[in-house]
Symmetry: C2
Subunit: 445 residues, 2 copies
């Protein structure tokens, strides 16, 4: 199937490749040159080499099964026809000026779609900045520096490649990464429903993160989501009227948002309303065990942020059970006169016993999800030893919200991540990540 | 007046000072030792020096007008009495176990309050991690590393010092800083209404950021806000029922949230619902000129993030006027066949003309606030030259939302900040910052 060619191409033709820096056909070459296959820069008006690869005049002189089309829209029918004749399986069409751009563009897109259909070519785009699979050094994009994006375990399928790239850089900046990033653009014949199953089957993808402006085939999208065993987080833009913009962007159809809201109300599917929440929800679903229920236990070394977190979570389906008597007695033993042994448990200040407090609350049978908040103190550090033990002995999501001087806490933060304990750097981000787990749990009921 | 002593103390007694690392009386000494005044470690059971200062047996042997009380709550009446006899003007009481902690604690707080009243001592706290004025090297806090917090132009008054410290570190991590940070705790006799006028009068404070759990004297708080010429951003926690927690934390009274919501509906006062929004709204109010209205012009190099921003802002009082014909003609001249010349203006990709596009939209008479979005490309950079010109020639808020590989864009981001153009690193944060400007504008009508 063509979409799988995007994951594992055998020979890539870069049609419209260029020696001129700043040109799209040069940027695309500069990104793909590291990928381990035969690369064919195609340009009848160029000769010699670019990034060490020799120019050819036509795609028909190549053995490529994937083509990156770096030519303007009006040339695309001719170029795709040549691709078809050359036996190309899949193509990425970067140019805009298609269905998003009025009647003329629509006709152009239909012409290209007919050719794709005739030759059975899978097309990513048109009107996309492309895709990236960092662990494979495979960058089908003209975006400079996309090779700086870290490899990780979050798979991104975004209607806007600009949004996908924005999130890929944010994940990278915060120390995480992506297993794959697909910008769908106009979705000529490659839709959410085509990419999701491949990400679901990809062993490197532990959560799928999705940005949706709108698609004609909502049913296929929802079916693909419902069939996915990998958890999915969806951000449907369009709480307010943005129909004109979305049409002019990715030719998204005008639709009621409710059809998505209803459709996404399904086990394993979490909905959010910002790109940062997409990232955070993706991380927590990728790295945490599935909670058994909605009972949240909060442990905080500072009451104020703990209250902010609780206030937020009270607006979700989270529940806050009383701790068992056994837990409360144990807490009283650990910290006689502890500030607050209800839930949230507030130690008032970080202290050497803080890890024991986290341990005690996590082991409480009534608690399904644990969220910790602690401003870092060098002399105490974070309770990594206790968390290490808990992560092997207790099968519950534990999330850690950090605060303090970043450089000081970075190492221990990384250790916690390696234990499968996602960390967050503001009270709200920690709370929203718990909210994502709650959302996935309640829909599973 | 006592509160001003907190800003400019002449001699500081650290009562309960200790040589033992990790003890509160040692942490407090380690933070204050850099301040340029006489420091008196007070502890009758210690001798010799700590951080180079000689121990004294009693506050009465000192010339301090400010005392940091690092002793447990039950010792506090005796200690404050001694402070009064020694002529101390102001004291920070760190210990908890007062009005937030049941009837006994309430009695203890009343006893201390009576003494404070008798000797006319301004008390910050009790039950607080204190305060910090970084530009003055003045750290009245036991929190390790608080000296890492950057100096800047945002003044923080937070009911929870933990929240204030969390935000101070976040501001620092993101390259900004604080003019002052006050954690009020139980507000025995130092309230929001006492600190706000001093921050308002402080030439280094360009915006005041406020975290409120609840106070008995709402009227005084609202009066202080309304009298402030410095813009204020307020985050009132308690959208849901957190009354028990807030009582147990800072002895906050149980109140309807609506009294704050109504009271904050006032010119110059912006309300938000997270700590990150507090920071971002504070930054934009501190650094941007006041907009003349709610007309937003969005310029984006990538449509998807621009749509996310527009979608968010359509949920606020922001308005999106059509651009003037003159502007649209100029845009067509700059970029024939530009993707979208409505508002938002979408260039489809970054390009050398992007700065001219920003310039054109900013100079449109219909536009009051400009928000730019652009994924960074090394070969183009950000349009710093055009922004530099605009920042001197046009008196409108311009906000820039950045994306891309952080290290690559850091220098230009800093240049934009220096021009008074606040920058934000996610679509949502940029949109919310514009929302804060809109909120301040509509309330001024």
């Amino acid at each position: 199937m063509g979409v799988s060619t995007l994951f594992d191409p055998d020979g890539i033709a870069v049609i419209g490749a260029s020696k001129t820096p700043g040109k799209l056909g040069n940027d695309a070459m500069s990104n793909i040159e590291v990928y381990d296959t035969e690369i064919y820069p195609v340009n009848p008006s160029s000769s010699g080499t670019v990034f060490g690869y020799e120019f050819v005049d036509s795609v028909q002189e190549t053995d490529a099964d994937l083509a990156f089309c770096c030519v303007p829209g009006p040339l695309q029918p001719e170029v795709l026809e040549e691709c078809g004749e050359a036996g190309v399986d899949a193509a990425v069409i970067f140019a805009g000026g298609f269905a998003e751009a009025g009647d003329e563009g629509k006709e152009l897109q239909e012409a290209v779609a007919t050719i794709a259909d005739e030759y059975d070519i899978t097309v990513l785009g048109p009107n996309t900045a492309g895709y990236a699979i960092p662990h494979n050094d495979l960058y089908g994009s003209f975006v400079p520096r996309i090779r700086d994006v870290n490899s990780g375990n979050i798979g991104l399928v975004t209607q806007s490649a600009g949004v996908g790239i924005t999130m890929s850089f944010q994940l990278t900046r915060e120390g995480y990464g992506v297993s794959a990033m697909f910008g769908l653009g106009n979705r000529m014949n490659t839709e959410f429903a085509d990419v999701i199953p491949l990400l679901d089957a990809d062993p490197r993808t532990d959560a799928i993160v999705m940005h949706v402006e709108g698609t004609e085939d909502v049913d296929a999208l929802l079916d693909a989501c419902q069939s996915s065993e990998t958890p999915i987080v969806a951000y449907k833009v369009g709480k307010h009227d943005i129909a004109d913009l979305a049409q002019a962007h990715t030719a998204a159809p005008a639709q009621e948002n409710a059809i998505y809201e209803d459709g996404f109300n399904h086990p394993g599917l979490v909905t959010v309303s910002s790109t940062t929440e997409l990232i955070d929800a993706g991380r927590v679903l990728a790295d945490s065990p599935t909670p058994n229920g909605t009972n949240v236990g909060i442990v905080t070394a500072q009451a104020g942020p703990g209250i902010i977190i609780t206030d937020y979570l009270k607006g979700t389906d989270a529940t806050f059970p009383n701790l068992t008597n056994e837990t409360r007695e144990r807490l009283d033993d650990i910290l006689p006169g502890i500030t607050y042994t209800e839930n949230p448990v507030d130690t008032g200040r970080p202290m050497p016993e803080f890890g024991e407090v986290v341990d005690t609350v996590t082991r409480d049978d009534r608690i399904d999800i644990v969220l910790v908040y602690e401003i870092y103190e060098d002399s105490l550090g974070y309770p990594v030893d206790e968390l290490s033990k808990l992560s092997t002995e207790v099968d519950k999501p534990i999330l850690f919200t950090v605060a303090g001087p970043d450089h000081a806490l970075e190492d221990e933060r990384r250790e916690m991540e390696n234990l499968g304990i996602p960390t967050f750097n503001t009270p709200e981000r920690g709370a929203q990540a718990v909210g994502a787990l709650i959302d996935s749990t309640t829909k599973s009921d």
